[in-house]
Every structure is written in C-alpha cells, then in structure tokens.
Amino acid sequence: MTVFLQNLVNALQWGSFYALIAIGYSMVYSILMLFNFAHGDVFMTGAYIGCGIAMLLLGLGAAGLLVLPGWLVLGLTILLAMIVTAGLGMFIERVGYRPLREAPRASAAITGLMIGIILETGNLILLGAQRVKFPALIQPVTFELGGVFLTNQKIMIVVVALGLALALHQFIRRTRWGMAMRAMAFDYAVVPLMGVPINRIAALTFALGSGLAAAAGILFGMAYPVLDPYMGIVFGWKSFVAAILGGRGSILGATLAGFLLGFIEIFVAMVFPSTLRDFIAYSIILLILVFRPYGLFGEPYSVRLRL
C-alpha cells in the first residue's frame, strides 16, 4: 500500500510536467489547428531562461544588491521566465507559423521541427556542450507520512501545475479573450469574419502556451536540476501524445491526459519489469485509441479538420 501511495505521489509530480506541456500543445492545436513541434524545445529554452534569471537574481543577492528570500526568487523567476518565453513563443508564431496559416498543416509541423532544431543548436553554440545545473531556489525538505516520502518540491510542483492549469481554464471560460479563443477553436473560418482579430489571438495562444512551457521548464529544473539542450525532444513528443490523447480542444482533457501518461509510465514500471515500460505503456495508449478513436474528451473528426 505504501508502495502504491509512494508511486501515486511520484506519478503526480511526473504527470505535472506532461500536463503543463501538453496544455500548450493542445491550445495551439485546437485554436490554430497546427502541430507545434517546436514546443518541446520551447520548454527547454524556458528552462534555460529560467535558469539564467534565477542565477542573475541569486548573483544580485550574493553581491548584496538585492537580497530576496528563496520563495520570492522562485516566484520572480517563474514570472519573468514566463514573460520572456511567451515573447519567444510569439516570435516563433510570427516567423514560423503565420506565413503558413493557409498552408497544409503538415508544413507548419515541419517548420516547427526545424525551429526546434535551431533552438537546440543555437543553445549548443551559445552555451557549449556543458550541461547546466539549475540552482536550488528552495532547500528540499523531505518528510515522511506513514512510509510515504514527500518533499516540499513535489508538493509545490503539483500545486503550481494544477494552479496554472486551473487559471488558464478560468481565463478561457471567463474572459472575452478566452471566448474569442473558444470561438476560433469552434470555427476557424467564420469567426475571423465576425471581427475577432485572428493574428492577435494566435499570438496570445502561443504566448500562453509558451509561458506554461517555461513554467514547466523551471519546475522541471527544480525537480531534476540537470539541463541539456536536447532535453525537450522526448518530452515534446510525449506531451504531444498526451495533448491529443486528451482530445481536441480540451484544456481539461490535455491536463488529465498528461497526468494519465505520467501515471501509466510510473505504474507500468511498478507492476511490470521496468525494461518493458515503454513497450507496455505505449501499447496501453494504442489500445485506448483503438477503443476511443477520438481521444478521451475529443469529438469525432469533421471534414474541416483535415490534415
């Protein structure tokens, strides 16, 4: 039982990352109907930007110029990195996706892949092949609850991830911008005719998605403090699986599917020999899709959503 609970905790943390990244995928994909394959690398860049900002703030603190407590540094880091990365996301949208809005969706997928490669290689050129350590902003404290080990980081990660997902959900449900986004997701062709500024919505979508990716990157850096330029690739593709598994256009679906993917990966390794983890985990995903061909919360495909 404690093993199960321990793994439950582990899976919650692991799923948080998938969920946060999958939300970004899902938003772009439901509103603009694009695969944003650069998203995994935006996550990577966000983590590096966050790392840079955190080091800067800590450096200021060490120099005695601006001494802040750890949690404030963390908060500031997340906020600033989200803003910067959101800018990066908007830039990517402007350069790589806007010119391709009328093109087949797969073409945009290729520009996404290529932007990803440029981000990776650029990072390698700028920072060299040295891996970067993410600074510890809050001291990890381990506590034991009936045989289950928890850390303050784990709790924080899950709380922040859920909080951000919830905030985004509220934003999309409650605000006019959110309404415009939902409308675009509903009908991409007609809504712009009703006076919804498509370019601004697209930019906003990318900004929000990239911001969340940056937050995920920093949380990732807290939990697994080794950053390398290629860390976004596997994350990107797996979150892509989660985003689509959740169903088209569903923030809730993407969040749940992200957690689900985390749970599957962790619990498969718990029950079966861990060498077979990928084999079994992705067979389960395949089976889910055989029986629910449109994802967990998706609607059947209509003609206008062709690739």
Binding site: L124, P140, V234
Partner: protein, 395 residues
C-alpha cells in the same frame, strides 16, 4: 552564329578561371600527417564530442609546438581532420569513409559511443585504417577487427571489479541495480555485475534489477521498488549527467545506503550538478583527478587552464587514444608517404603496444585483440567533492 558566340563566351570563362586557379603560389610542402576525429559533436551527446575535440586539439598543439612528430629521423607536423557524426550510425559510417578516402588520414580517433563506433569500425577495418575508440565498450566494436582498438576497459572486467569491491570491502550480500536499458554501455555493465554478484552471493542476491530508458529523468518508480527490496547498496552504471538525478531522487525517497558507480561517473560536472548529495559514494575510474600525480596532473591542470573545466573520462581517454596513435606512429619505423602502407605500419605498431604510460593507466594490447589490459581504480567522492583514490583493482 549563336554557337560561335557561345563558344567564345565559354572559352573566355575557361581562360579566366584557369588563370585564377594557377595564380596562387604553391604552398610550402612540410610533411603533414593527418589524424581523423569522428566525434558526436551534435546530436544526443554533444558533451562527448566536445571533450573529444578539445583533448585531441590539445595533443596536436603540443606535438606541433615541439616541432612535430619524429619518425625514422624525419619530422612530421600533425593535423586533425574533424568530422561530426551527429550521433547517428549512418553518419558515422559516412564520416569514417570520408576521413579515410577523402582526407586520407593515417588513423582515426572515435566515434565514442558504440552505436556509432560499431559501424564506423566496420568501415575502418575494411579500409585497413587503424581506429581507436576511446570510450566504446561494446565488444562488437573491436571483435574480429584487427584494425580497431579501444582505450577504455571492458564491461566484463569493470563489472566484476565492482562486485569484488562491494563484497570484500563491506561484506554486502544484497545488491540493487538501476540502469538504462536502451543504452548498451550501462546495460552491459549491469549484466556483468549481476552475473558476478550472483556467482559470489548465490542466486537471487541481486534483489532489485531495475531499468529506465535513455533521456528519462524520473526514476521514482524504480527507486521505490529498490528501496522496498531491502538491498544494502545500489549500483548504477549511469552517466554523470544522470547520476545526480538518481542520487537526489533516491535521497528524497528515503534512501540512506551507499551508491556505487562506474567509470562513466568520472567528470567534474558530476559534483557540480549533484552537490553534497553525491559525497561519500564510490565509483570505478580510469583515473582520479584529486591527488593525481605526474602526467595525469599535468594533463588535468593544462586542460583546465585551456578550456575552463576539469577533463572528464572522455577527454582523458581521448588523450590516451590519440597518444596511443602518436606512439604507434613513432614506433612505425619509417613512413613511406604512401598512406596505405603507413596505415599498415601504424596498425602493426599499435597492436604491439606494451605498457604505454597513459594518464588513465598503463595500457597494453594482448596479441590478437584491440581491448586493452589496464587496472581500475576505485574512487571515493570525498567531503570536499573531490575524487579521491581509494583502492586499485587489477585484472
């Protein structure tokens, strides 16, 4: 009419281009020997490629500063031909072919990772070009290939060495193993360790044998299993970039027992990335950077001064790999200028290497094999985060 005009134009272009081509004066001809570098500069493991490149460049600069390498009474300048194999098997084969047939190198260092080294070794062996992989531990790399060598020790030595250490030093009976199933180096090592450990302590004495996949960062599920298995220590033959994650997560999940590692831990980045959590653990290494003496210390200091970081195992092994080639060139007797004959001579000299004083240990190649015989050092990460020599295990 048109044809005539066209021909005039073509002729004029020809004359102009030929004139330009013949203009530059012939460069002075100092005899040059080229050594190829086939490294993973982009792709999954850029750090490996970078360390390879740096160590090789430093070696070549040294040799050239001393006036070149002397063979049969004649001095040769060394030159590097560096190719990136993008961490892809087919690209490594292409790069090896290019180095051999286009750049006409006398010998090749790398590729380092086995995924690239095995196909590149095939190419080098077919073209009878000596190749030394510094880092590849896959038996396939050198097996039945008289022209392919390696500078590191093999899994079937390192695994048992650790097993001996753990049972003699601590009298442990129950071991746990955590390794990357998709990467052949950790997997090979884990298997050899398990085999030897069970031979010593009876079947079932490896109480947890857990794995993950390359690029995974979360090991909580596997570690939870390991912690509940009652193992007395954990052996994890992972790379230094993964070790901090494993060690820290283990600690956060309540693990307090020792953790043992392999030579892939040996990098100053380990301590930089891991911090205090890694202090007190042991690993096998080719060399220990703290308290190193003689040539090893000199190498470490100069590398650090030049590139700003303490060399990791790849850099140290590459230094030895290219050093082996350099020594073989010196011992080749006389170079003919015919690259094919020279390669043959270098390969013969390389195969006869005996007691080469490398910085990662004394290297000899047994007859008919490209796998070196060398000793392993058990290294402890001390309380200052330095790698301290603890004990030596020889085959």
């Amino acid at each position: 009419m048109k044809n005539v005009r066209l021909c005039t134009v073509l002729f004029a272009v020809l004359v102009a281009v030929l004139g330009l081509a013949l203009f530059p004066a012939a460069a002075q001809k100092t005899p040059v020997l080229k050594i190829g570098i086939n490294a993973e500069i982009t792709g999954d493991i850029p750090k490996v490629g970078e360390a390879t490149k740096y160590a090789a460049q430093m070696y070549v600069e040294d040799v050239n500063k001393a006036g070149g390498i002397e063979v049969g009474g004649k001095k040769y300048r060394l030159e590097l031909a560096i190719e990136d194999n993008e961490a892809k098997a087919e690209s490594a084969a292409k790069a090896a072919t290019k180095l051999i047939t286009v750049d006409e190198v006398i010998a090749i260092v790398g590729p380092q990772a086995s995924k690239q080294a095995v196909p590149a070794g095939e190419v080098c062996n077919n073209y009878k070009t000596p190749m030394v992989s510094a880092w590849s531990t896959n038996p396939n790399t050198t097996k039945d290939r008289p022209y392919v060598f390696r500078a590191c020790f093999l899994d079937d030595f390192q695994g048992p060495a650790l097993s001996i250490f753990a049972s003699q030093e601590y009298r442990f009976k129950k071991a746990a193993v955590l390794y990357d199933v998709a990467s052949d180096y950790p997997k090979g090592l884990a298997e050899f360790f398990k085999k030897d450990w069970e031979k010593r302590n009876g079947p079932g004495s490896v109480v947890a044998y857990e794995s993950f996949t390359t690029k995974d960062t979360d090991f909580s599920s596997q570690l939870t299993k390991i912690i509940n298995s009652g193992a007395e220590f954990l052996f994890t033959p992972q790379y230094y970039n993964e070790v901090p994650l494993i060690v820290q997560q283990a600690k956060q999940l309540g693990w307090k027992k020792p953790i043992l590692g392999s030579d892939s831990w040996a990098s100053d980045e380990l301590v930089k990335l891991c911090g205090k959590d890694c202090f007190g653990h042991f690993f096998v290494s080719h060399y220990a950077s703290a308290g190193a003496k003689g040539a090893t210390k000199e190498f470490i200091d100069r590398y650090k001064a030049k590139y700003g970081s303490i060399p990791d195992d790849v850099a140290a092994l590459t230094w030895d790999a290219i050093g082996l080639i350099g020594a073989a060139i010196r011992n080749a007797g006389k170079l003919t200028g015919d690259v094919k004959k020279d390669r043959e001579a270098v390969r013969n000299a390389l195969a006869q290497t005996k007691d080469y004083p490398g910085i990662t240990g004394t290297i000899s190649f047994p007859p008919g094999s490209g796998d070196p015989i060398k000793c392993a050092n058990i290294v402890k990460i001390n309380d200052k985060g330095e790698f301290e020599f603890y004990k030596s295990v020889c085959p």
